[in-house]
Subunit: 316 residues, 2 copies
């Protein structure tokens, strides 16, 4: 499936991913400048620099891409959806900065560069994560995000629910618990059902929210929002199984971070629970389910269909 067929969205995917990534980079760069609003005091330069280290210059920007393309599918111009996409990306970046800290996953390298606490220090990295998270909600709530107050409040609600106790942060907590961090010290052996649940929270919720936020921006009907919800959750699950497979099969150079670390830490993955072949079948099934969820849309959804295949088949 890696050979593109005319009209299946693969041609558009690479160029649109690249374009959105460039636009998100420029937008985040502008948000993370040392500009001072009226009545506000100058910002601490070291903290701003750490935020920039954590948010700029890296990643595929898949989440904003999903937001922008879902909104575009529903008739919203990409330029009108970029700020909402940037907010999702800020939450993603905050989670990486905090998860990399020594008290959490203790990673030194991210996207081929030192993690924020290695480039700066732990206190600065904690505050950089905190302020990236806070900025995400500021960006969504700001009237500059071209949407009514009702929609901006709905965007904040969707992003907060996907990020908090019942979503990403809760999933990270379950992941740490599965490593045996809070109990007798031994890693638990999670069932495949438990692993799917953990992953739906830790990575699935924010990917699904990326799609849902585009749907809310685009004024999706209840039926459209439900279909896009299925798409987003299936894509999110496929993305994470693919991640687990890459951790086994890819090189550190490909990923820009350490590999084979899941086994070392006793992290539960579907590769461990099901074996590599079954994990690949699950990944492909989820990707197909994401594509199938878009059956009610026409060719204008091809790029989202291609994104679901990409989430499963990516090499990094």
């Amino acid at each position: 499936m890696s050979s593109a067929q005319p009209g299946d969205g693969n041609d558009d995917l690479a160029s649109r991913l690249a374009q959105t990534a460039a636009e998100i980079e420029a937008l985040l760069d502008g948000l993370l400048k040392d500009t001072v609003r009226e009545g506000e005091i100058a910002r601490p330069a070291r903290l701003l620099a750490a935020m920039r280290h954590g948010a700029l210059g890296g990643g595929k920007r898949l989440r904003p891409f999903l937001t922008v393309e879902t909104a575009r599918l529903l008739g919203v111009a990409p330029a009108q959806a970029l700020r909402a996409g940037a907010a999702v990306e800020l939450v993603h970046c905050y989670s990486l900065v905090h998860d990399d800290l020594p008290a959490m996953d203790d990673d030194d390298i991210r996207r081929g560069r030192p993690t924020v606490h290695k480039a700066y220090d732990e206190a600065t990295a904690m505050l950089a994560g905190d302020t990236l998270l806070t900025l995400a909600f500021e960006v969504l709530a700001d009237p500059d995000t071209h949407a009514s107050g009702d929609i901006r409040a709905a965007l904040v609600l969707a992003l907060a629910r996907a990020s908090g106790l019942g979503g990403m942060a809760g999933g990270q907590m379950l992941d740490l618990a599965a490593e045996g961090r809070f109990g007798a010290g031994a890693a638990a052996t999670l069932s495949d059902v438990e692993i799917r649940r953990l992953q739906a929270m830790k990575t699935g919720a924010l990917l699904a929210a990326s799609v849902d936020i585009g749907a809310v921006l685009g004024g999706a009907s209840a039926e459209q929002r439900a279909a896009l919800g299925i798409y987003g959750r299936a894509l999110g699950a496929a993305f994470q199984v693919a991640d687990d497979i890459l951790d086994v099969e890819a090189s550190p150079e490909q990923l820009g971070k350490a590999t084979a670390k899941d086994q070392g830490k006793g992290k539960g993955t579907l590769v461990q629970a099901l074996g590599l072949d079954a994990a690949k079948r699950e990944r492909d099934g989820l990707s197909a389910a994401a594509v199938a969820a878009l059956a009610g849309f026409g060719a204008e959804a091809d790029v989202l269909r291609a994104a679901a295949r990409f989430a499963a088949e990516r090499a990094s």
Copy 2:
């Protein structure tokens, strides 16, 4: 000024502070239950328990009180303002949980109890802070917060700006820098001007936002919002100078936390920069300025006037 005069608001202050504190406690208790929304997965019990440890059972709840009383001044029933007050308190609690961590201020005791990372562990405390912050924005954005979408978005914006790089988190960063954490290792000697700037960010911004959020909820006119802004900033500054004075004069038992720690860490305070007597004069002047800012309101603002005096004269 500690002897109450009939009609000056002091009679009401104690009872209204106690009532709001009880109502906020009940509301936070309800928000931090292991309830599961439709379509959501169950929440990790240990993380929820740590959030409860960090948010329940403590504090004067001064910030929600300011939100509720400012809203009441503008005709909003207290019951309609409680959720907004709870959101501000959640941000305050998140900041305490993170600031107490070993990489930050390294405090073991808070409100007479072990800090969250002592009662649990560092990773759990980090995630508990993250999720308390996230929950604050979820609470404000939710339609259950009785306000239009425009107002809910404005509340999110005000809270985010007060909490982030240009507000509370930025102030904490400046505070750590003043301790010499990022440089040659020696604590800097801040001027009184620099200390006021730091404190306006670290503690002043969220206290001022507590008032401003009440003003936004109450549909304040531009003139009213400006007057209440002066009140909130002066009260916030008075509160922090009072804190610095208490750190010198009060016992650990009175405060439920360690005292005399500012000197030990080389934290810049106005007591150090100006001396104790001049710091007390500044505190009283700020309190008077806060009261004066409410000159355009009648007797219905007496409880806010009393709160400004209380912020300066409190014994804990």
